[in-house]
Symmetry: C2
Subunit: 334 residues, 2 copies
Amino acid sequence: MKIILIGFGTVGQGLVQILRDKRADLKARYGFEPQVVAVVTGRRGSLYSPDGLNLDALLSDFAAYPDQPAVLERGWSAERIIRESHADVLVEASPSNLETGQPALNLCELALQTGKHVVLANKGPVAVAYNDLISFAQKAKRQVLFEGTVMAGTPSIRLAMQALQGCTITSARGILNGTTNYMLTQMESGKPYAEALAEAQALGYAEADPTADVEGWDAAGKARILAQALFGRKFLALDMHVQGISHLTPADIDAAKAAGERWKLIAQVTPQGASVQPRRIPVSHPLAGVSGTTNAVTYTTDLLGDVTLIGAGAGKLQTGFALLSDLLAIHQLG
Amino acid sequence: MKIILIGFGTVGQGLVQILRDKRADLKARYGFEPQVVAVVTGRRGSLYSPDGLNLDALLSDFAAYPDQPAVLERGWSAERIIRESHADVLVEASPSNLETGQPALNLCELALQTGKHVVLANKGPVAVAYNDLISFAQKAKRQVLFEGTVMAGTPSIRLAMQALQGCTITSARGILNGTTNYMLTQMESGKPYAEALAEAQALGYAEADPTADVEGWDAAGKARILAQALFGRKFLALDMHVQGISHLTPADIDAAKAAGERWKLIAQVTPQGASVQPRRIPVSHPLAGVSGTTNAVTYTTDLLGDVTLIGAGAGKLQTGFALLSDLLAIHQLG
């Protein structure tokens, strides 16, 4: 399997690190021998070698990647690499644009048109154009997989779409943003909002501009993905009720605590609609026990009742694993 | 797909009910059109019709199953049905014998020898002879699937063996027995052990002889299955530390509560060993929030950290779904 990797930030590097460190294991257990033939970065140009790039050299210093004995092209555009390389899979791990899905969406469509499977950690194309991607993929007889877009590598998508096959899922409720869950956990231990935010920023959980996390937009993007994957329903962010946690006061936190409840930023998705808002959850509910940056989702089903999955929602290896698991699924289909 | 069903208690009836009620849905969504060609009961004889039995008639009154226009054989032994029917899958849903795996184990081996896939809710053969079954199956190029043996249809096996592929699982810890978890939840609310047991018996959660549940042997059987499926390790029940909940006193319960902890009957499995014993779990741990008859398992992995799955651990449709999900997996492979 020859892979083009778009985006070489934390997630892309996580995948490459896993492929390097698990090379022998992946070959022995699954007969899986992937090659990364191209990496396209946002600011540091691109590298393309039809015989596969050296993963150690990629990880140690991308800018100083050595001239190889074999063919090495520097600076090709993503489009040119997708058109002219003979790769099997495009991995999209560049930053998400939840409004347009671009530029990743065009690259994904080009990849499908040129016969490549597509694996995404980038939420944008899936949230914005799920139906288009799936219908392109069906025409091209290729896969579009996106485990990494919701709860990192914790298999929320694979659970819903594969392991629960035969059930009808009627709703999904989840804690899909780790930053705000970390902040709420801190606020419960007595810190005011501003202090919890500063701490999340210091730890790298929240960005300098925390709006996407704290106002619920990141969770809303994930809710839109679940709505499309589970129910085939496309909800626009503008039509959703989306509220974050920035208005919660110490008095709100205390009132919940006194009632045996906890505030959680809950994304809720049914065939009728999707929303993100802080909700008071009884401490006895599985979602109430999810603390720190951990994420969780509860699927309500006809045959099994509630099924809850709890695990990492972010992280280098955690999201890198999501990409690996999609690549393995493609390998095993082929 | 032509199915032989051994065992027509709650679980077997649950499967037949699902197949009846979801017939149109399973055909439309998955192109899956199974036929139950034989049902073998413990005390009410057997029915075999090569053209498929009528599911409504099976469910309404097995003993009064009408003579069909087509061929109907009554009273054939399970062995004869396995040998002489042209079925594709044996579904084993008779009561578990965790010491010998019999008589189910012989039937499973006969089914594999005669070219059938095997799907089990019966824990016995998997706990006792996992390696033999898998090696028979590999030789016969057939599947042995057993989602229903641990946590009913909550996909604990599929999560570990498929969705987490690419990770290395280093341990599993779980609440794998719903009866004792229900009793512990009642004991936390102030009831003594004897009263909690009587209540569990009245509700049908515990048997008249509750030993297998309350002394930990049911959970130990599931731990042995996980040890083999996850780590390829066969532990004998005699070599395991297995302790139930019957010795826990109100004072024990209170002491845990005072320390911010809860007693849970925890099955723990690593490549080095397996055990079942009551443990005090901090209320902040995901397993502590699992109450009533709900089950849960936490897999610790190298790339994702802890992944926890919470859901039903028993029930007619819940375990029936486990069988359906294995049958669907076989359908989709073929």
